[in-house]
């Protein structure tokens, strides 16, 4: 059994965990971050990508609203390449509560959140897809953020400063002696090999799974799981973020991102945060609801659906979901008798930096380190790691290089052989065997109209050529990649998408027999 040592072990590679790794590294503390899957496998990779101006929370939670305002401003300043500073609108339509709309600018003002009331005609000129039934509109400073680039950049910076990232490694147990976690047991999720880490401090940043992690130390955190589903449109519908000007509810935000828009979300209480997928009913409901604000949503094409689970912590022992904190929760488990264990969960993507800062402060106190937080002022260096996730980057690069031998493996998103090689090299740099899913995560591969039908096969062939796949590894890798994409396609399969799905099934099953168990053994 291999043994690793670290000052700080961070559990979870979402926005919070990777943000914490960067914060600590900037203070000169080296960390090991372990992630059971890969960067942003949890809520950080399955959210709306809205960098909140805070306006959404002005009537429900003024503290959260102010936090969002401050943090949003900081991220726009320090990580501009991860943000599309679109601006946002709040709009009410016929039937919405008019008092809510009327009070809104005043509430924003109280939280110091800039908000300007607009003439309806001006609003519809700015965003022509707004409903004819719009009755009120207000302009705010919402933006959209690329959570993948953000987390990849956070981790890359931390790694450059000496920290370590280990993916496909799941925390399976703690060895506790007295009031300390002596060591942490890790299990590789691919080959099930076990490893042990000895760390001075252990931070649980496992999002919705934080309760599970705490339970390994016999500590109870009362988590509430709230599932949200989102739809990605084939084209960008609006220039700005559009929020429904009403009490927060379902399908009332549309966030633009590159060439697409994302509409959502729903909010359903679930018992188990694993194995979640968007359903046909949720999809149909979102389309109908969203259509009230932007009627085009009832006609437009969608390319993918996905679901995430919000990590919420129940504050009081009541059965009501509304008594859960939408702010973050930081627990120093010294209060439970473990003095080197900390949990950080809840919160939002927008406030990840603040959560990381507060957690790092606690870690430093435990370690007796007095270095101050730098993430409030230090801009993100622009690393190479996140660049291929940006829509439009791969085609631009390909055009710029103008090398006809650099053929396109993914024709929809124009990801070329050299782009794939670059991503593979960055993975190899981390001593990791690349697979299709990890390439998909770090690029736009499989995100275009063919949904991976063709590019998955081409990339697998290329990886064999380069020696990154051997024996029959290709089939499970292909199946895994296609399965992951399928989750998001399944509820959207009607009309042209059903045609595409049929072609995929004809190729992958009808012709290639990838569904047959024996195909994994090549015979």
């Amino acid at each position: 059994m291999a043994l690793l040592k670290a000052d700080v072990l961070i559990i979870g590679g979402g926005a919070t965990g990777t943000g914490l790794a960067r914060d600590l590294s900037l203070r000169g503390i080296q960390c090991v971050l372990v992630e059971k899957d890969d960067i942003n496998a949890g809520a950080s990779g399955r959210n709306h990508g809205l960098l909140h101006s805070g306006a959404r929370y002005v009537s429900s939670d003024q503290e959260a609203a102010k936090e969002c305002r401050e943090e949003g401003e900081l991220i726009k300043k320090l990580a501009p390449h991860c943000v599309d500073n679109t601006g946002g609108l709040f709009v009410a339509v016929e039937g919405d509560n008019e008092n809510y709309a009327a009070d809104f600018p005043q509430l924003c003002d109280e939280c110091g959140i800039p908000a300007t009331s607009l003439d309806i005609r001006d609003a519809r000129e700015m965003e022509p897809e707004l409903s004819e039934k719009t009755i009120a509109a207000c302009m705010v400073e919402d933006a959209s953020i690329d959570p993948f680039m953000l987390s990849l950049e956070n981790m890359a910076h931390a790694q450059n400063l000496g920290s370590t990232y280990i993916r496909h490694m799941k925390v399976a147990g703690f060895k506790i002696s007295g009031n300390r976690i002596q060591s942490v047991n890790l299990r590789n999720t691919l080959n099930r090999k076990e490893t042990t880490v000895e760390a001075d401090q252990v931070v649980n940043a496992a999002g919705v799974w934080s309760g599970e992690i705490a339970a390994l130390a016999d500590i109870k955190i009362d988590m509430v799981y709230s599932k949200g589903t989102l739809l990605i449109t084939q084209n960008r519908i609006t220039q700005r973020v559009v929020n429904r000007l009403r009490k927060a509810s379902d399908a009332d935000i549309l966030v633009p991102g590159g060439t697409v828009s994302i509409i959502g979300t729903t909010s359903t209480h679930i018992d188990n945060p694993d194995d979640i997928y968007p359903t046909v009913r949720e999809v149909d409901y979102i389309i109908e609801e969203g259509g009230a604000m932007l009627p085009v949503l009832r006609k437009t094409r969608y390319i993918r659906a996905y679901s995430g689970v919000r990590p919420l912590v129940r504050l009081k022992a009541s059965g009501d979901d509304r008594d859960v904190s939408r702010g973050y929760t930081l627990i120093d488990h010294t209060e439970n008798g473990l003095e080197n264990f900390i949990t950080i969960t809840g919160g939002k993507l927008t406030t990840y930096r603040l959560m990381a800062e507060k957690t790092a402060d606690t870690v430093c106190r435990h370690l007796g380190v007095s270095a101050p937080c730098k993430t409030r002022t230090e801009p993100f260096p622009r690393s190479e790691h996140g660049k291929w996730t940006e829509p439009g980057f791969a085609p631009r690069e390909w055009m710029r290089k103008n090398d006809p031998t650099d053929i396109l493996l993914c024709e929809c998103e124009m990801v070329s052989e050299s782009a794939v090689d670059d991503i593979i090299a960055s993975l190899a740099h981390q001593k990791k065997r690349p697979d299709l899913c990890s390439i998909g995560l770090r690029s736009r591969v499989g995100k275009g109209p063919c949904q991976g039908t063709f590019c998955s096969l081409r990339i697998a062939a290329h990886m064999y050529d380069q020696g990154y796949l051997e024996a029959d590894q290709g089939t499970p890798s292909l199946r895994e990649f296609l399965r992951k994409r399928w989750r998001g396609q399944r509820p959207l399969l009607w009309d042209t998408h059903l045609v595409q799905a049929e072609l995929q099934e004809a190729m992958h099953c009808g012709f290639l027999g990838l569904e047959l168990e024996s195909s994994e053994k090549g015979g």
Binding site: Y277, T279, V280, R281, D284, P404, T405, I407, L409, E417, F454, L457, R458, A460, A461, H462, Y464, D465, L469, E470, A471, D472, G474, T475, L478, R479, L482, R483, W486, R487, R490, P491, L493, W494, D495, L498, V499, A501, E502, L503, E505, A506, M507, C509, G510, F511, L512, G513, L514, E515, L516, E517, S518, S519, K521, G522, G523
Partner: protein
């Protein structure tokens, strides 16, 4: 504006595997036939003709004997279209189909009582029934694990000889690989272009010269399926002459040259047999004549429309890809006659959560239900029209993609539909 009217005995709607087979069988029985169709799955298809290989799909049970597989299938799924057809008739249809391909210069081979195993471009082994002559040599080579050289090309994406070798490492250890630049070198290669190039003897020879030194002790050479489109037999035999060993092709991902060969053979061969083609033209059903019972259609764009008046019709319009079926958010429809479509109750049931769920997706079994003559039935369960027959993938209760019965189903139902038409027509007159 002139509106020509064509009167015919049989109108075949569809130019995919099923429509082509129906037109072939009809012409062979001397029926005056018109065929319409737009783009089909043919140019995408692997060129392999599956008959029946997997049942029950849930257990992924693979049948070596397709005929025994069909028996088991019919027993368990009595509504499967194969259940309407005598096995002898299926055999007869396949024989007739192969005989046509043979005479047209695109020979196919089959081991009549067994499925044959061929390899695919991702290195999986596929059980299938009729195999293009240009692919056939792989069956024995794989069975005997013959020393073999696999060839691929710089710039042909999605085809890696090394992948196939690695995938088959245990099954076929004596595989070697070699990569070449294609003689008329372009940075990116397309299968159709390569196939046309290789029909030029000098290009074929140039390529063979490059490959030859690598053959060494290999007793057979495998290449991606690019050995010609119109003169495959000739290209294969030239290549074998130069290399001095048998060669075989490996079917590639679409666009697939063996599929294009089939398409071409039918498009050139059927008119010679007397089929009147109205290809690349969309068909709209108009009405059924009260006096004659004929079915009347409008075919083609509004500025040059043809009226077709037919005694009988074979609907081989395919599924969603072929556009015989259409779906919106709520339901699946048949596009030409608006026939009732057998389908799951709600969209939630169309697809399984897991893409590769071995039970297959329920939407794949949606389609037209018929009587034993393959006449689609209306809501009351009676034939919707006296002389309307359906063939191919538009039929319900089959999942050709999982059962591996695509071409067999198309061919067998096409033949049965033609025979049924003759039977019903004679009973009318």
């Amino acid at each position: 504006m002139s509106r020509p009217t064509i009167n015919c005995d049989l109108f075949v709607i569809g130019s995919g595997m099923a429509g082509m087979a129906a037109a072939l069988f009809a012409a062979g029985r001397g029926i005056n036939t018109v065929q319409a169709g737009m783009s089909s799955e043919l140019a995408y298809a692997s060129g392999l003709l599956d008959l029946m290989a997997v049942h029950p799909v849930r257990e992924s049970r693979i049948w070596d004997d397709p005929w025994a597989g069909i028996d088991a299938l019919i027993r368990d799924i009595p509504d499967h279209p194969y259940a309407h057809i005598e096995k002898a008739d299926i055999r007869q249809a396949l024989d007739e189909f192969m005989a046509f391909l043979n005479s047209a210069g695109l020979p196919y081979k089959a081991d009549t009582d067994h499925n044959s195993r061929v390899i695919t471009s991702v290195g999986t082994v596929k059980p299938t029934y009729c195999v293009p002559g240009s692919i056939w040599n792989v069956v024995r080579a794989l069975q005997e694990k013959q020393p073999c050289l696999l060839v691929d090309f710089r710039g042909l994406k999605g085809f890696s000889a090394r992948q196939i070798k690695e995938m088959l490492r245990e099954n076929w250890p004596s595989l070697q690989t070699a990569r070449f630049s294609f003689p008329s070198h372009a940075p990116e290669l397309y299968t159709e272009h390569m196939a046309r190039e290789l029909e030029k003897p000098e290009i074929c020879e140039k390529l063979a010269e490059k490959i030859f030194p690598y053959v060494e002790d290999a007793r057979v050479v495998g290449l991606p399926a690019v050995l010609g489109i119109t003169r495959t037999e000739e290209v294969v035999s030239n290549m074998e002459k130069f290399l001095n060993v048998p060669v075989f092709e490996i079917p590639t991902m679409p666009p697939s040259v063996p599929g294009m060969r089939l398409k071409r053979i039918f498009e050139t061969g059927l008119p010679k047999l007397g089929v009147k083609p109205l290809l690349q033209q969309k068909v709209r059903y108009v009405k059924s004549s009260k006096s004659t019972g004929d079915l009347i259609f409008e075919v083609g764009p509004s500025d040059s429309r043809t009226t077709v008046c037919a005694k009988g019709v074979i609907l081989a319009s395919g599924r969603f890809f072929g556009k015989g079926l259409y779906s919106d958010r709520n339901s699946v429809y048949e596009t030409i006659f608006n026939l009732p479509v057998h389908q799951p109750d709600t969209r939630s049931l169309w697809h399984r959560k897991d893409l590769f769920d071995t039970r297959g997706h329920l939407i794949s079994r949606a389609g037209l239900e018929t009587d034993e003559f393959l006449r689609p039935i209306d809501k009351s369960g009676r034939p919707a029209y006296n002389t309307l027959f359906a063939a191919g993938s538009v039929l319900a209760h089959q999942d050709w993609m999982r059962m591996k019965c695509g071409a067999g189903l198309a061919i067998a139902t096409a033949s049965h539909a033609v025979n049924s038409f003759l039977k019903i027509k004679s009973s009318l007159s």
